[in-house]
């Protein structure tokens, strides 16, 4: 495969030629040119692409070069996450992530690795998410060879030293003991359980489940999930494609598949009825979360739903939730929504943190704002604002070489065609008002909503029962 990188293949023509006298030297506002009438030179931009190669054992490797700074970044994506915790041992994947970094390998003890990496000022981190894990590494160019060896042995041959395992488990237990100290964190954690009820994604760690986990569980989990066929790699920075391939082949290329049976997760079941849950906590501010399962990233509905979410709550100050709840009524500092589209399903959540005394009022407002999408088409001006904003912001997907390599690795992980990014702005631009209403009707049926309110019930402005039957949830 040709090792030509296209990342620098960007053409731009920008010049701030003076736009006449109108803008010049006047403090009088009536002489200022209205912002809408400013003229911009076109921004020519070609999507930078990462080079894709494969190690001799088939592990895909995405490479984006950038030689400005003497840094190399490396990321391994492992197709396994919290949702893969064995039943009864919730918290295992997280612990694997922790002890992977601290527990040593067949070459070096955990303490030796810490000391070596710290001395070369290498950053290593492991993020364990719901369905995948990211092991990331950033190192100065001069230390690359030695650092890569360590990175590869951590990925491939961790030993999860007993002592480091015990420390990590105790820390996770302490973290759980403290989980209710942060109301927002507690609410979003609990919400996961409600949204994915009956699905492995909805299982939370408990003192019991953490207590049941032993070092052998970590070794087994690693053996079953950290296999070449379950891994994707990306490299960026001060390294050539050829070099990256040869270095990684040397330390990972002969790693052979042992267990090729990948346990794939089926998408969570769509809800059949609405639920409203109260998590009582004595705190001056309630946390309200309202949500649904949404369309997957591979669906044509992904685009209109992205626009809907932008207009409803993720599009900043102009989004309806921000405008109505924060700006117009002063009922919250944080008010918005997000949509995460995964491979075969998506999640949509709207949230507001408001004083206990306006809890019911705000929940009513959220429900009204969501319902409005089903009852009325969005205005064309509002739609244009959203689609322009999303399309114009698209270039920020590629701020650094690392973004470029990572994005393309994520495309493969999500099973999307390489043309996905090229087509994205056009498909967003093509979203019409009817599309938005259609996806609202499909995915935001109020009779299937999942609602959580965390707060001090006695201070609420009205009982939550006005919104339906209330279930009660405890922290533990």
């Amino acid at each position: 495969m040709k090792t030509i990188l296209l990342i620098l293949n960007m053409i731009f023509a920008i010049s701030f030629t003076c736009h006449g006298v109108a803008l010049a030297s006047s403090t009088k506002p009536d002489i200022l040119i209205p912002p809408e009438r400013l003229q911009y030179s076109p921004l020519k931009f070609q999507i930078p692409r990462a080079e894709k190669v494969a190690l001799t054992n088939g592990i895909p490797l995405y490479i984006a070069e950038d030689h400005e700074l003497p840094l190399v970044k490396l990321t391994a994506l492992i197709r396994t996450g919290i949702a893969h915790d064995p039943s009864g041992k919730e918290g295992l994947a997280d612990l694997v992530g922790d002890v992977l970094l601290t527990g040593g390998t067949h070459l070096l003890s955990g303490d030796e690795i810490d000391e070596t990496l710290a001395f070369m000022a290498a950053d290593i981190d492991c993020g364990v998410y719901l369905e995948y894990t990211l092991l990331t590494f950033s190192v100065l160019r001069k230390d690359l060879d030695r650092a890569l060896e360590i990175f590869a042995s951590i990925l491939r041959n961790p030993v999860f030293e007993q002592e480091k395992f015990a420390t990590a488990r105790n820390l996770n237990i302490e973290e759980l003991r403290r989980v209710s100290d942060d109301p927002q964190n507690l609410a979003f954690r609990t919400y996961r359980k409600l949204l994915y009820r009956g699905d492995p994604r909805g299982r939370l760690s408990t003192f019991q489940s953490l207590g049941r986990i032993a070092r052998t569980d970590l070794l087994n989990f690693h053996r079953d999930h950290f296999t070449p066929g379950n891994i994707l790699l990306s490299v960026s920075g001060d390294i050539t494609g050829k070099e990256a391939l040869s270095l990684l082949n040397r330390c990972l290329g002969d790693w052979q598949e042992i267990n090729a049976d990948m346990k794939t997760l089926t998408p969570p079941q769509r809800k059949t009825e609405a639920s409203l849950t109260l998590l009582p906590k004595e705190t001056p501010q309630s946390v309200i979360i309202y949500g649904h399962l949404g369309p997957p990233i591979s669906s044509p509905d992904f685009y209109p739903f992205t626009v809907l979410d932008f207009i409803l709550g993720s599009g900043g100050f102009q989004s309806r939730m921000f405008q109505e709840i924060r700006t117009n009524r002063g009922l919250a500092y944080s008010s918005g929504s997000f949509y995460q589209a995964r491979k075969d399903y998506g999640i949509f959540e709207a949230y507001v943190f408001t004083k206990a005394e306006s809890t019911a009022q705000v929940l009513g407002l959220i429900k009204d704002l969501v319902r409005e999408f089903q009852e009325k088409v969005v205005g064309t001006g509002e739609l244009q604002w959203a689609t322009k904003a999303i399309a114009n912001n698209f270039i920020f997907t590629f701020k650094t070489a690392d973004d470029v390599a990572l994005q393309q690795m994520m495309l493969e992980y999500k099973g999307l065609p390489r043309s996905f990014l090229e087509e994205y702005p056009g498909r967003i631009a093509a979203v019409g008002v009817e599309d938005v209403r259609r996806v609202a009707a499909t995915y935001l049926d109020p009779h299937k909503s999942v609602i959580l309110v965390l707060g001090p019930e006695k201070d609420f402005d009205a009982p939550l029962t006005r919104f339906g039957t209330v279930n009660r949830e405890d922290v533990f």
Partner: protein
């Protein structure tokens, strides 16, 4: 992170939209990368300073405006002014956000008078006349409704977002107020157009609704957050005279009575060109940027150089120990008064900070979290809560059950005492210096971070080259320096400690 990145990566930025009140800044240091060669610096005639770096990886540009003003500059009784003003600068200008400014202005003036009357009555507390308040409130509501028909709400954000802006935000610290955004490189003029006008002619629309928003912000980050509450109480105990002892968001009473005039006076006094630094980093041509900024910001009158008369914190005469009762698991904060930059000792504290808590190999992590297992977490910061004035070296820690706060404190003190007696090994010192150098290189990877760093140090240190000099000085620091500084500052007399628990012991 933008939309696609969010769609493809996990990410969960739920409160990132607006205005973090606290800006914790890590001092970074330099390396082989020749920063001085990359930075072009200009000062306009009105005193505004401009720093530019051209970087072409992506056709985008990151923009930071920093005013050298923060919560520390507020008058007593008006705490929270700087932060509230920062919120209000998103409400538009005379030409942005209005359908008819002439008509709107008359209503706005009436709203200010009516709101003042309402506050005046309300401040009488129990003596306030409820029926009078009700009628003024009704009048205020009416005026606000009338004004609403003339307002294009959140228009600044609409202009930015529609043009593809990324990371539009602002923040207020004790020292500095910051307005930041990244844009497609061809949209630079939009930024200049909006920012130059909001610097000199903002309009405070939707004032009283926003005053409720900042109260919600306080509820979110202090009243319902044990870390936020503990920090507030700790700083109030550590500083008895200097304004660093007051919360950035303000004390609730002050916040609830801030007026349009308070904000306007503060703006006129401090958001002046000579008190402002702009950093522009990205795919730019220096001359074009300079011309654009001269055109838009040049006409802003220089104004007077602000003169905050900020008192000096008198020497501490003995340990200060407070307890905070809060429905959460125990935690503590301790701090020691110290000088700020460019004092040599301030650099030594940067090394001590990294040595004590940066990474798993750091002393406090290794000993308190792993070996003695008395702590769940330990962090430190070398300049709390700001860097314009003498500040605090601060340590935060949470005990691990069943260990008590007392055991945790004792274990921490053992390590601070050790710093006074045992010289740090050459290897350990070198490791810390390596990590300070590398973190600087990493920060250069992002246009926004570079713009942030340049503008920050130009503002608080008076010269961005502080970043470059920083490492040179760090490199000279010896084991003896660490012992000397530890002995001088980590004393019982200079210590403030705040302990949070459900049932505080007297």
């Amino acid at each position: 992170m933008n939309r696609i990145a969010r769609a493809l990566l996990h990410s969960f930025l739920f409160s990132a939209v607006v205005c973090p009140a606290l800006l914790l800044f890590l001092s970074d240091s330099s390396c082989a990368y020749d920063l001085e060669k990359q930075v072009k610096k200009y000062t306009l005639e009105n005193g505004l300073k401009l720093l530019m770096v051209k970087r072409d990886f992506s056709p985008t540009v990151s923009l930071y405006i920093r005013h050298k003003v923060g919560a520390a500059d507020e008058q007593s009784g008006k705490t929270g002014t700087a932060h509230f003003l920062e919120h209000m600068l998103f409400k538009g200008t005379r030409t942005i956000g209005t359908k008819n400014f002439g008509r709107e202005k008359r209503i706005l003036d009436e709203i200010a008078r009516t709101g003042d009357a309402l506050d005046q009555e309300s401040r009488k507390g129990e003596m306030a006349d409820p029926s009078k308040m009700k009628s003024i409130q009704a009048r205020l509501d009416g005026l606000e409704n009338e004004q609403r028909t003339l307002v294009l709400s959140n228009e600044i954000d609409r202009l930015y977002s529609e043009n593809g802006a990324e990371a539009l935000n602002a923040s207020t610290s004790q020292d500095v107020t910051t307005y930041q955004v990244s844009l497609p490189a061809n949209k630079l003029e939009l930024w200049a157009r909006i920012e130059s006008e909001r610097m000199m002619a903002p309009v405070f629309r939707e004032f009283y609704a926003e005053r409720k928003v900042i109260m919600e912000e306080r509820r979110q980050s202090i009243e319902s957050d044990p870390d936020g509450k503990l920090m507030e109480q700790f700083l109030a105990a550590a500083f008895i005279a200097h304004p660093y002892g007051r919360p950035i968001l303000g004390w609730p009473y002050d916040m609830s009575y801030l007026s349009i005039k308070d904000l306007d006076d503060f703006l006129k006094q401090y958001h002046t060109p000579s008190n402002t630094v702009i950093a522009v980093v990205g795919n730019i041509y220096h001359q074009d940027v300079l011309r654009l900024i001269t055109n838009y910001f040049g006409p802003i009158p220089a104004g007077e150089t602000p003169d905050s008369r900020i008192t000096e914190e008198p020497p501490q005469l003995g340990e200060r120990r407070i307890s905070v009762s809060f429905d959460a698991n125990p935690r503590l904060v301790m701090g020691f008064h110290k000088p700020t930059l460019p004092s040599y000792d301030d650099y030594v504290f940067d090394v001590i900070q990294a040595l004590l808590t940066d990474g798993r190999v750091s002393r406090l992590h290794k000993i308190l979290v792993e070996e003695k297992a008395v702590a769940e977490s330990v962090r430190s910061a070398s300049s709390m809560p700001g860097t314009r004035y003498p500040n605090l070296f601060t340590l935060f820690a949470t005990p691990r059950h069943p260990h008590s706060l007392a055991e945790l404190e004792e274990a921490m003190m053992v390590e601070l005492e050790r710093l006074k007696k045992e010289p740090v090994s050459d290897r350990e010192l070198e490791r810390v210096k390596n990590s300070l150098k590398a973190s600087f290189v990493r920060s250069l990877d992002s246009n926004a971070e570079l713009a942030s760093m340049l503008s920050y140090f130009e503002t608080v240190a008076g010269d961005y080259r502080y970043i470059v000099e920083h490492l040179k000085i760090i490199d000279k620091i010896t084991p003896d320096d660490l012992m000397r500084v530890a002995r001088k500052y980590f004393t019982q007399k200079n210590k403030t400690i705040a302990l949070l628990s459900k049932t505080p012991k007297e």
